[in-house]
């Protein structure tokens, strides 16, 4: 079966105090398996909303999302943990919902997240860095066809970022990626399709230079 995700005429409108906010306007996008999509956008351009729509965490106001591959939750996300559960309990839960044997993943997550004894402590006792490491380790532990990455630079210290890069961009480089960011950092070297998100409109460019040229003049 062909693997892809397709957005058809997707609009997302948020009600605000005075009227409505058009977060996404008429987005049409087909993500094929193996695409490495980079989306540049300023703060408030709708980047996170777009990532959430692709993941399915948010439903579009109008339009359709057709998913024909296994898409991750938005990475670099730190929520979704039950504070009173331990890191291990959260690992078990995530593995169970995705139908993965958690016993196989324990050593990887423990090693990657570097939580030490805290792995067996409630998540509410974690620092924000520890939470982020756990979140990232869990999302890498589950094998997805498509990884959604929201502002990758935001997670962890430099050493941890390097390890994330190895795990994601080297070991899983044949997978599909959608990266949204306000900086060209990873998009330039890693991606093969380039977009700019501007006030809810998604514009595709032939190469990075054209996209960057347009984006940097905004």
């Amino acid at each position: 079966m062909e693997k892809f995700v397709r957005l058809e005429n997707v609009n997302k409108i948020f009600p605000i105090k005075k009227g409505v906010n058009y977060a996404l306007r008429n987005i049409n996008l087909t993500i094929n398996y193996g695409d490495r999509i980079g989306i540049l956008g300023l703060n408030g351009s709708g980047k996170s909303t777009l990532i959430r729509i692709i993941s399915g965490a948010t439903k579009p106001t109008t339009g359709k999302v057709i998913k024909r591959m296994k898409v991750s939750w938005p990475l670099a996300f730190q929520g979704g943990f039950q504070g009173s559960l331990t890191g291990l309990d959260n690992l078990k839960f995530i593995c169970r919902i995705y139908g993965v044997d958690w016993k196989e993943k324990v050593s990887f997550v423990q090693d990657f997240a570097e939580l030490g004894k805290y792995f067996y402590e409630p998540v509410k006792t974690y620092s924000s860095g520890m939470r982020a490491r756990l979140a990232f380790a869990l999302s890498i532990a589950i094998d997805f066809d498509c990884y959604l990455i929201d502002e990758i630079v935001a997670v962890g210290d430099q050493r941890f970022q390097h390890r994330c890069k190895v795990e994601l961009f080297e070991k899983k480089k044949d997978r599909t990626f959608v990266i949204v960011s306000h900086s060209p950092h990873h998009i330039k070297d890693f991606c093969n399709r380039f977009f700019v998100l501007l006030e809810g409109h998604l514009l595709e460019f032939e190469n990075f230079d054209q996209a960057w040229d347009f984006y940097s003049k905004l």
Binding site: W73, F77, G79
Partner: protein, 250 residues
């Protein structure tokens, strides 16, 4: 979907039993306490000398059965807001959150009822069920009613901000009127006619007949709660679908 619900149930089991709120014990102690209280009053006014009515068993079965919807509504009403972060995983749907909470309440209320029934039975206050099939039928019908209400209230928690302020009062009034604590026979015929619009009264009559047998006149029609539940369940699924679009994950 089954996988997700399993995972959610196991997860809630840890979080709940880790805290003080132990559903199973409540489902045991609440009807136990109430049945005990009523029995004491009953004895105090010397009703037991004038009547052979099995008051303890009557209260026990109606009360336990009614908890199937009462606890479920409360739990399901908060199912989505309490677990909103999980919706980040698109594989977890709001309906899974509601169903897993309903399932947990069903298990703990049923467990509590069995334990209490055995205890009361051991002391001779609760008889051996007259007809197990009716007891089971009434139990299933009430669980089904609870699921339908759970879905509707979970959807309402998203769709309306007003419901939150009224839910406690509503539950309280409906709990008294639902028919779990009185028999249709106790009512004057012209009032009874109206009360029989409540599916919960029919169901309570069915479980009471199943436990106590023909010691009084029962008023029920099996098809009415079935019909009501079918419609309520469809409404619940429909409302939750509408509500789903309004849920914003932080």
């Amino acid at each position: 979907m089954v996988r997700v619900i399993q995972a959610l149930v196991m997860r809630e089991l840890i979080t709940r039993y880790g805290r003080k709120n132990i559903g199973f014990l409540w489902a045991f102690f609440e009807p136990a306490f109430f049945a005990f209280l009523v029995t004491i009053v009953w004895t105090f006014v010397r009703m037991h000398e004038r009547s052979t009515f099995p008051i303890t068993a009557f209260i026990y079965i109606g009360y336990s059965n009614g908890l199937l919807w009462r606890y479920t509504i409360t739990q399901c009403f908060h199912a989505i807001s309490a677990n909103q972060g999980l919706l980040y995983h698109s594989i977890v749907k709001p309906v899974d959150l509601v169903i897993s909470r309903w399932l947990l309440e069903f298990l703990s209320v049923t467990g509590g009822a069995i334990a209490l029934g055995l205890l009361f039975g051991g002391f001779g206050y609760v008889p051996i069920p007259y007809d197990f099939s009716y007891l089971l039928l009434g139990w299933i019908l009430m669980a089904w009613f609870g699921l339908a209400m759970g879905l509707i209230f979970a959807a309402l928690s998203i769709l309306s901000e007003v419901v939150e302020h009224f839910i406690q009062a509503f539950l309280y009034i409906f709990w008294i009127l639902s028919g779990s604590l009185f028999a249709a026979e106790f009512l004057p015929p012209n009032v009874r006619e109206y009360f029989l619009y409540l599916p919960t009264l029919h169901i309570a009559e069915i479980v009471r007949y199943g436990l106590l047998g023909p010691i009084m006149n029962y008023y029920y029609d099996i098809s009415y709660p079935v019909f009501f539940n079918l419609i309520a369940l469809s409404v619940g699924f429909f409302l939750l679908r509408i509500a789903e679009r309004k849920i914003e994950v932080e």
